[in-house]
């Protein structure tokens, strides 16, 4: 198999793109249309089974599950963007800085990084929620902070590789500043690595939001969130398993999609894989 064929036909990439696309299209569509108001309580429609009126049925408040899943997709994408944004915007420059700074300073930054890495992400988010109030944004900033070390590590290892290339040595001997080298040479060359890491972190953020909402520290009610839908279904698990199944499948699709997309992108961009081929 040639490299070109492998690149264009990676099934992970396409399946991942398809699943992520489904989530994105659903989220965008929910801005224009949902079958019912996802937060409207209607006692008369309580716990209806799936049917023509309500595709996935209704929950114990009489709210349409399908509409909630649609709007919940927005929450899912929002948390991913915030968490990955925070992690990538802090982690990547930090990693590049650690690679380019004097050795002792770089080592110091990375050891502090290891300390943050040792702290469980969910616990950090719960603490943030308890102190600053439970909220999607608070929770995702916490998850983002907890994901900073993984970005810093990837960026540093990538940057160290770039730093030893001849064109960087040439730039340095020509007297270009460190900042200019970082922006001009290092960042473009590690972009692929950061994108791969982003898609994996995205999946982790989606799962974290679900877990936090499940524990009552995530998205505020009644804003639809797949994690909270799962939590609300908990006491009805024995009576109405459908209520857990619907958001559970949605979470699985989104996480699988982002993970496959990450795998596919790695096949494309990871320089180490190319060398092996």
């Amino acid at each position: 198999m040639t490299l070109a064929v492998r690149r264009s036909s990676s099934p992970s990439l396409w399946v991942g793109l398809g699943l992520v696309g489904l989530v994105v299209v659903t989220a965008l569509a929910s801005f224009l249309w949902t079958p019912h108001d996802p937060t409207l309580v209607d006692a008369a429609q309580r716990l209806r089974g799936p049917g023509t009126d309500y595709v996935f049925g209704t929950d114990k408040f009489g709210r349409d599950l399908f509409s909630q899943v649609m709007v919940g997709a927005r929450t899912t994408l929002f948390v991913g963007v915030v968490a990955v944004g925070v992690a990538a915007l802090i982690g990547t420059p930090l990693g590049v800085f650690a690679a380019m700074a004097p050795k002792w300073l770089g080592e110091f930054v990375m050891r502090v990084n290891d300390l943050v890495l040792a702290f469980p992400a969910l616990l950090l988010a719960i603490v943030f929620g308890a102190v600053f109030g439970a909220d999607t944004l608070t929770a995702m900033i916490a998850i983002g902070i907890a994901s900073v070390p993984s970005f810093a590590r990837i960026a540093r290892s990538g940057a160290l590789g770039v730093m030893s290339t001849e064109y960087v040595l040439a730039a340095r001997s020509a007297g270009r500043s460190r900042t200019a080298i970082a922006v001009r040479h290092v960042l473009p060359n590690i972009a692929g690595l950061v994108i791969v890491q982003s898609s994996v972190s995205f999946a982790i953020a989606v799962l974290s939001e679900a877990a936090l909402s499940f524990l009552g520290f995530g998205t505020r009610p009644p804003t639809p969130s797949w994690g909270r839908m799962l939590q609300e279904s908990q006491e009805l698990l024995a009576v109405e398993p459908r209520l857990a199944l619907v958001p559970g499948v949605a979470i699985a699709i989104a996480v699988l999609g982002f993970n496959l997309l990450g795998d596919g992108l790695r096949d494309r961009y990871d320089p180490r894989l190319e060398v092996r081929r």
Partner: protein, 495 residues
Amino acid sequence: MKRISLFLAALLVAGCSAGSTASAPRDPNAITIGFSAEPANFDFTRTDGTAIPQALLYNVYEGLVKLDENGQVKPLLAESWRVSPDRLSYEFSLRANASFSNGSPFTADNVKFSIERVKTTWGISQKSKMDVVSRVEVLAPTKVRVTLSRPSNNWLFDMTTRVGAMFSPDGVADLPNNPVGTGPYDVAARNRGSSITLKANPRYWGPKPAYETVYLRYFKDSTALNNALLSNGIDVVSAVAAPDSMPQFENDTRFNVTQGITNGEVVLSFNGRKAPLNDVRVRRALTQGIDRRVLLDTAWAGRGELIGSMVPRTDPWYTDLTGVNAYNPENAKKLLAEAGQQNLNLRLRIPNLPYAVTSAQVVKSELNKIGVGVSIEPLDFPAVWLKSVFTEHDFDMSIIQHVEPRDITTFGNTKYYWGYDSPKVRRLLAEGDRGSPEQQVTAMREVAATLADDAAACWLFLFPNLIAAKKKVGGLPLNQISEAFDLTILRRAGS
């Protein structure tokens, strides 16, 4: 600094375990009961909250009188009592054969010691219930006279709560860890974060309890508590906190299920200290904008009762006030327009407890229909909610269950978190306490009606007492209206 300490406290709490999982011991003389809130220690004289008296009152500690499940005051350590015609002095005849679990006999001296100790040493707000006592005299080892500074109907009732518990001077050295009472049980062991073991007190003066050993097990999560019963880990769920899960017990022949009432009024409280909720038209509009039948049906599976004021059915001054400020969305909109509040946005700051989170979503949906915007903010309970809403009054509306018996009197306290201030209600409450029992009923009925008309709060529903238990357990209390989970009324089914 405060924020840092809160941060550290949250870390500590987050690190704690989620509850017990082991299965129930198979001793036929033992029973295991599952609860959701664990006592922080055993000292209810200095620690607030309902978890400690729930475990210890009537079981380890006893008072002169107790409250039965129909709200009647019954003799306990006092065999009988006589009230003077001016209703200022109470003469109690005490049981001669009662003793404390450490062997000290129970005498009139202990009554004097215990009542005076509430006034001098107790550290919780409920100690003020004893302020009305001016003198305690020991007449004989089994005779004691309590003199009040003014007639008070509430005092004898309050003696059924924790402030009436009897202590021995040689048993109060280590109350947080070693409670010494006259009750049918003694604390045998404590496994912090998981369980408390009670053993029958061999010196008990009354009938032997049906179960020699009682394990009180604590579960933070309502589903875990339910599952413990389904998987044979416990014998009784003291209060099913997930009402939608009741059918799984009702449809299972292994279990008995009872549904009664509690003292817990689930209240949508309004912050009457500030605009716009200091305007009675706005409060009436919000109350009339919420269909409380729909709320009860959706948020709590229709289990519970609708109440129109702060009075459960078991109080003598109960009248049905659900028709006052009843659901009328059209009128609600008119009232808002009259008050000039058509673009109202309110913060609903609630504890992150299941009943509050589910009720809040219905409240929001209902109020949106009359054009009122609501943003729900769940706060960590108890720490953050108590600090922010209860103490600092930083809220527009909140939802909380008020569980203390006869807590309608809190509307007479202008410093209370909802800041309700009505001279008429304060006067009626004082008159009711001072007057004859008949006058009290009349006055309290008027208090309840005034609060309902004033929409001092919106009473969403009365919390149900849902108990699920194995068939072998009998004598389960139908209603839960005292502070105690009374173990003495339990028996073996068929006996």
